[in-house]
Assembly symmetry: C2
Homo-oligomer: 197 residues x 2
């Protein structure tokens, strides 16, 4: 009983939540996406930067353009998921820092004047935000199917620009009633991950 | 009411949780860290890889060695937090893939035979796992103080090896009764982050 979070919430977000490979037909509404964002936007990042950008693929035409860049094995599920989101890192996130970090506006120039530094920071922090977003999808009672198996160069050209690096595509929806996921794969034990000095 | 997660859990994990800069004296126990890990180990990653490594800095001697690598402004809080954890990415995570992904053991050689590919994947996925760990700290009723302001080269030499890249240091504990954090900084609006195609 070392956790304060109630057991149902633990199950919803981690223990019973699973990466879904097939979904029901129930749509994912704008209200749900708004509620997810309104919750997970508070997740912490370095310097309160917000590099994550989310492209919701809602039109059949855009879906078709995306599916052709997905790896075999990911394309069919991306074609049929109720909603698909392209997550990308904005490598020019530093432009927003004076707005986002009002008590330390000089961070923009002091730390992020060089693009390679920004790219590393954008990757790390957009990944943190991607994890918060996945947790938020689960908090909405939906299943996430995050994927990195895709032609990200093709996706960038098709949907983004040179300042935005795709990091992940996520299928979102209610899981199919049967066969939505594989059996749970093993995790590393505590002692394989955590050491004490 | 678009979220299924109960409101108290939303507050605990996102809305009222804050990055703490000062802490009470109450220790963080091994049981708490074990409970956090046992929850967040289920967070999804690409190919079920587990690049995140956590070094708990518990001895005064190790704490002293760490503090000297923290940036000014981070050193004092790292010196006094009940527990400090160094998070790093294991760039040789692929060795564990046959164990972690039993239904697709060939992923190790098919996708991760080259070190630069592994380093990018380890950074992205260890950042996802770092976010799950921060959520887990909050799920234990504790506050996290994640920091990237540090000499990571120095920390790597002092505590890790050439295969492990530090990504973050996190102070952990009960927040101080007063003045534990800054006022909440602004977040980007939905429309600044999310577009629909």
């Amino acid at each position: 009983m070392s956790l304060v979070l109630d057991s149902a919430a633990q199950d919803l977000l981690f223990r019973e939540a699973r990466t879904a490979n097939s979904f029901s037909d129930e749509p994912v509404t704008e209200e749900q996406v708004q509620a997810i964002y309104d919750l997970v936007k508070f997740g912490p990042t370095a310097f309160n930067q917000t590099p994550l950008r989310i492209t919701l693929v809602r039109s059949p035409e855009a879906r078709e353009r995306l599916v052709k860049h997905m790896a075999p094995g990911n394309d069919a599920k991306t074609a049929t998921a109720p909603l698909v989101a392209i997550l990308s890192a904005d490598n020019e996130f530093h432009e927003e820092l004076p707005q986002l970090l009002p008590h330390f506006p000089q961070a923009k120039d002091a730390f992020f004047s060089e693009r390679p530094v920004r790219e590393q920071s954008a990757l790390l922090n957009s990944a943190l935000q991607a994890a918060y977003f996945i947790i938020g999808i689960r908090a909405a009672g939906l299943a996430a199917g995050p994927m990195t198996g895709a032609d990200f160069g093709g996706i960038q050209k098709e949907f983004l620009d040179a300042d935005h690096t795709p990091i992940m595509v996520i299928n979102i929806g209610k899981p199919a009633a049967e066969g939505a996921w594989f059996d749970r794969s093993p995790r590393l034990a505590f002692d394989e991950v955590i050491t004490t000095v």
